[in-house]
Point group: C2
Chain length 139, copies 2
DNA sequence: ATACTACATGGAGCCAACTCCAGGTCAAAT
DNA sequence: ATTTGACCTGGAGTTGGCTCCATGTAGTAT
C-alpha cells in the first residue's frame, strides 16, 4: 500500500525557485553523487519528488553546519538507516564541533590581534603602526 | 653610502629551512607577484637577501591574520611607503576585523547548534536524533 | 669522467563547490 | 511553421594557494 498523499513532481526550474539553488548546482549534486539519480520523464526531464526536496533541504541545512558535500553524502546515506548509523552520525557531529571550536579559538585570537592593531593607530604620529607591528612581532 | 652591515644571501634551500616554506611556494610567490623578482646569480640561482626574508616573514604573519596573498601584496607595497599608506592599511585591517567578527558570530551559533545536537543524543532511544533534527528544523 | 645535488623553467594538476558553455531536444505558443 | 523557452548532456573554466612534473643546467664530490 502506497501512501495516499499525492506526490507532486517538480521540474528543475521549480526547484530553483523553491530552494534558491541554481539548476547547475542541482545537476552537479546528482553528477557528483551527493544525490542519487533523479527520476526523468520519457523525454529526459528531471522530476524531483517530495523526498528529493527533503534531501535537498537536508543538504542546505547540513551545509550551513559546515559539513562538506562529501560528508553530507554520507549523512544522507545514514539518514536512510538512522537506527544503524547513530554512532557514526554522532561521531561526525562531534568532530565537526571540535573543528568549529578550534576555528573559533583561532578567530578569537585573530580578532583580538586585529583590534589591537587598530587601537595602535590612535596615538601614533609617524609611520604606520599596523605595518610596523606585523613587521616586528618577532622582535 | 650603503649600510655597512654585510648582507648575506640565502639560496632557496636555505630559505625553506629558515622559514618552513617549500621551494615551490617561494617560487610561486615570485611568479604570482606577491614578491618582486628575486635577484639571481650569473647562473640564474635565486639570492634572497635580508629584505626578502623580512618580506617573507611579513607574508607569514599577515597570512595568519587571514589576509589573502592579494591583500598581502598590497600591504607589502604599502610597507614601502607606510607614511602615505596609513589610512589604507587601517581600512584594510578594519575590514578584516569586521569579517573576522562576522565569521566568529556564525561559528558561535554553529557551535551551539552542534552542541545541542550532541546533547540530544543522550536520552533518545529510537532513531537518530541528530539526523531528525537536521531534517525537520523547519517543522 | 661521472655521479650527485641543488637549483632553474614553464606548465599541468589538485581541492571544493560550483559555474558556464556549446550544441541538441522537446513542448507549447503564435 | 516556426519561434521561444525550459530543459538535456558532457566537458571545460573558475578561485586561491599551492604542489608536482619533466627537462635542463651548474657546481661539487669521488
Amino acid at each position: 500500500m502506497s501512501t495516499s498523499t499525492t506526490h507532486p513532481c517538480y521540474r528543475i526550474g521549480d526547484v530553483t525557485e523553491l530552494l534558491g539553488l541554481s539548476a547547475d548546482t542541482l545537476r552537479y549534486y546528482e553528477k557528483s553523487g551527493v544525490l542519487p539519480r533523479i527520476a526523468r520523464t520519457a523525454s529526459g526531464i528531471r522530476q524531483y519528488d517530495n523526498s528529493d526536496i527533503s534531501r535537498l533541504r537536508f543538504i542546505q541545512r547540513a551545509q550551513k553546519m559546515n559539513f562538506s558535500l562529501a560528508e553530507i553524502r554520507d549523512l544522507l546515506r545514514m539518514r536512510e538507516d538512522p537506527q544503524h548509523a547513530r554512532d557514526e552520525v554522532r561521531q561526525l557531529t562531534a568532530q565537526k564541533l571540535k573543528e568549529t571550536q578550534a576555528r573559533l579559538a583561532e578567530l578569537t585570537t585573530l580578532g583580538n590581534e586585529l583590534q589591537l592593531l587598530l587601537n595602535l593607530c590612535r596615538g601614533s604620529a609617524a609611520g604606520c603602526p599596523i605595518i610596523e607591528r606585523i613587521d616586528d612581532k618577532d622582535a
